[in-house]
Symmetry: C2
């Protein structure tokens, strides 16, 4: 059992700093744990409270009736060593240190962080942070962040060197149908590192794909080894932002991360079989596609659209990304033609032209295309219903004497369930695009069923291509572990020199020399 | 006065096909014209109606009390020649043919299109379409599309070879604060071409930037000349989707466009000073930045964030796009430090850390940075209010005995007006990112004031860079008109051969030869 097992699946949690003031950060963390579905024991620890929102509170860890599996700290950083020591004394072995004010703020903080590490080591405590947002484990409805997380369990694992990407973004993720299996904010990585989290997610059955937000990797050889063992079985994508001088400087003051030149990370990701992405949107949405869609068996995409422009853009983007968009056979076209207007293109892209009978666009033609054996994936544009009605409603309201947009939806009987099941029924990945977002009932129903819906056609096509990138990863030669000269004195000298000079990143010459040493 | 003047600014409009059935397309076009604010005269023309929604209707153009400035056709294509002829007889000189069923559907349609062109030529009628969605002219609140367009007048001009991009996307545009000056769907371009529209928008005072969606340009020399005259004064961006074989095939059946290899268009855009974009999202949002933000005077970006990760990503993306993110001077940092927590980075990026006092993030630090003279543009992440409150509301509702999220907004006095004015006050472009979309009141207020808000930090940085691309365009040597060997017999032979072979696009050899002929 790895060090993260009990941290991510605790039976009992103490939260240090939580009070009855709901606008304090510690209390907001507590409220998330209390209200988002966690069923384990919760112990607020606060010097002045007896009862916190109905829970018995404790003045000190030493007063607790049991050693909690995990202690969460949201108190000023200087108070942490003593409190952590007390938890160690009672036998707690896991902690999450949310508080900031450590390595990321300079020398004083660095010393404090060392102190915390020493105390943890003394007691055999493994901990996440400091300077992090904690974690979400959707499997047991545990959310230690400050935001409400109410989505049902998902399949995307996230490890992030920025806490924001599992807090500020939670509503965004909900609006895009992205659901986590587990998401962890690793902060300063004083103990548990992003590599440990990656390893955990690699072995976690609930997690079908992994997204990494990276400002700097500390132990490159181990990262390479861990990632290389995961990527043949489970896709991993990563965003790296430390490659420019401004990015490196910002990351350094953010989590004290030691960044390196962009091309080093580019090579590292390639070798490890990690697919690189360039924005947090891709980190989420491409991860979402990998986590929810069946694996791609070939590179032929079928495109079905209700409008020419988006179909053309999708086709163009698909080909640029390495897909083919093969003209459909005469036999398949003959089957499609009765479903679309005369003269409408049936040859891939299929352009059904504007049509509010969504069954043709999202069920009938998709099934014909899949059953023909002529496509390995589908890209569908233009399925919308309520959003469109809301758009024309101001014009037809008086005319039809309607009260609200819903009045007209009765005239549009639509199967909202079947389209979301086709991908899984046939094992063929499907992505969609629509200019109508989560406010549209059709979009909403796809998001609920795990079919990714993008707000523009090119994005859908580009995200579909992440499945092709992953297919390439799985088809390449198996990773051979190179025996790295771990104790290379030249390499050690370069790194020592950099540290001595207080460099935050290696200069290009040193980095190249280092690379050369490691072959 | 160009051919588009009366088409875009008609004093009177006839709409052929509009009836009292609000679910018919022609009627939906009529309702948009009637209800979105147009104040000119409107004449429904329909064989069976006497009155349409209170407007006197006419059985034939010959019955009309006057020749309307513009006639709009939404009837089956075969009926158009005779009706157009009748309008010509009464003296109408402009038309919009919405109906499809022409060149894009094959030989029969091509003949019909020729017939329409001949009739138009006979009467001196200039027309948009066929197979288009018409136009939006926000200056006179004229909307001939099927969707409600209620946004206030904007500054982005759009010319599109796909009608969808001014119809299906209207709610999307509203949600992102993008507002058109004029937007035209050109369809098959049987008469008025995308080049004519580009020329019009280039001269239009309301239009500050132009976005073009292109599946294929027919008259390349004229496009080059028209665009080259506009781009030194007004930015033009373009998405071209005909460069792949699937894209070319799809475009051909969509509007009958003749596409060419991607690199030909790449070169054409470069020569013309047109900035290329690769998705409709960029077409809208980069156009929006160009249309709303002051011109960039240098390449130094200041980044202000409430969270480290997005600040780091923004910094990294800005540098990749050619900006510098210079460390702020000690003097500026000393001014910023009292506004942010101790140890928080003040050196660019400025990380104010999580803070619901938005004045620091969106007014005080921006003004300090601008007044210092150390930045040419600002990228701000993390301004949100109502969206965040909605996210924590489920947790604090009971605790604070609140009825609705708005109850807590009273505790967060925020200046929602000033932040949206700073860019214009100082002539410094500002873009923002937030994971809270139009549902957030701060985001909404920025969108209303024309400050672009993106849903991820990298997108904001990348969109800001379009101002840098345009700065490069304006700083390059003036365009010198090359005297093209227009009558080159070799070139004519290549093109004739392609047409004879019924090729929809030139093959690579022919294209390269053609390029070589034109130097």
């Amino acid at each position: 059992m790895g060090p993260l097992e009990k941290l991510i699946n605790p039976s009992s949690i103490a939260i240090v700093g939580a009070s009855n003031n709901p606008l304090k950060m510690a209390t907001m963390h507590l409220l998330s744990i209390m209200k988002d579905g966690y069923t384990g024991k919760i112990f607020p620890v606060h010097p002045k409270e007896d009862v916190v929102f109905g829970l018995k509170a404790y003045k000190s860890p030493l007063d607790l009736p049991q050693a909690p599996d995990c202690a969460i700290f949201v108190i000023p950083s200087v108070g942490i060593p003593a409190t952590l020591d007390a938890f160690g004394t009672i036998g707690t072995k896991r902690a999450i240190i949310i508080s900031a004010g450590f390595k990321e703020v300079g020398e004083e903080g660095r010393k404090l962080e060392e102190e915390v590490k020493a105390i943890a080591a003394k007691h055999g405590i493994r901990f996440l942070g400091p300077n992090c947002m904690g974690l979400i484990n959707s499997e047991i409805a545990l959310n230690t962040t400050v935001m409400a997380y109410t989505a049902k369990p998902g399949a995307l694992g996230l490890a992030s060197q920025s806490g924001t990407y599992i807090t500020q973004s939670i509503m965004y993720l909900q609006h895009h149908g992205v659901r986590f299996s587990k998401a962890l904010s690793v902060g300063n990585e004083a103990d548990i590192s992003i590599i440990d989290v990656l390893e955990y997610l690699g072995n976690d059955e609930q997690t079908k794909a992994i997204s990494l937000y990276i400002e700097g990797i500390r132990d490159v050889p181990r990262f390479l080894e861990v990632a290389s063992n995961i990527t043949p079985k489970k896709p991993v994508i990563a965003q790296y932002v430390g490659g420019s001088s401004a990015g490196a400087r910002a990351g350094s003051s953010h989590t004290g991360a030691m960044a390196g030149p962009d091309y080093l990370y580019e090579g590292l990701f390639k070798q490890a079989g990690i697919i690189r992405v360039y924005s947090v949107e891709e980190l989420y949405m491409h991860g979402h596609v990998l986590a929810t869609q069946p694996r791609l068996k070939g590179n032929r995409v079928g495109i079905i659209t209700n409008s020419g422009g988006p179909g053309t853009s999708m086709a163009n983007t698909c080909e640029k990304e390495g897909f083919t968009v093969p003209p459909f056979s005469q036999m398949l076209q003959e089957k499609i033609k009765p479903l679309i207007p005369p003269h409408a293109p049936a040859g891939n892209p299929v352009d059904i032209t504007f049509n509010l009978d969504l069954d043709v666009l999202t069920i009938k033609i998709p099934e014909l295309a899949i059953q023909s054996g002529e496509v390995d994936a589908l890209c569908i544009h233009g399925a919308f219903r309520k959003g469109f009605v809301e758009c024309i409603f101001p014009h037809i309201q008086q005319v039809l004497n309607l009260q609200k947009p819903e009045d007209i939806l009765g005239f549009l009987p639509t199967d909202l369930d079947t389209p979301g099941t086709i991908a899984y029924k046939y094992g063929i990945p499907i992505v969609m695009s629509s200019f109508f977002d989560y406010q549209d009932d059709f979009t909403q129903s796809m998001l609920e069923k795990g079919i990714p819906v993008f707000d523009s056609p090119e994005k859908a096509a580009k995200a579909l291509a992440v499945l092709l990138r992953y297919k390439e990863v799985t088809e390449r030669l198996p990773y051979e572990k190179v025996s790295l000269p771990k104790a290379s004195p030249e390499a050690a000298a370069i790194i020592e020199k950099a540290i001595k000079n207080k460099q935050k990143a290696l200069d290009e010459h040193a980095a190249k020399t280092l690379l050369a040493i490691y072959g």
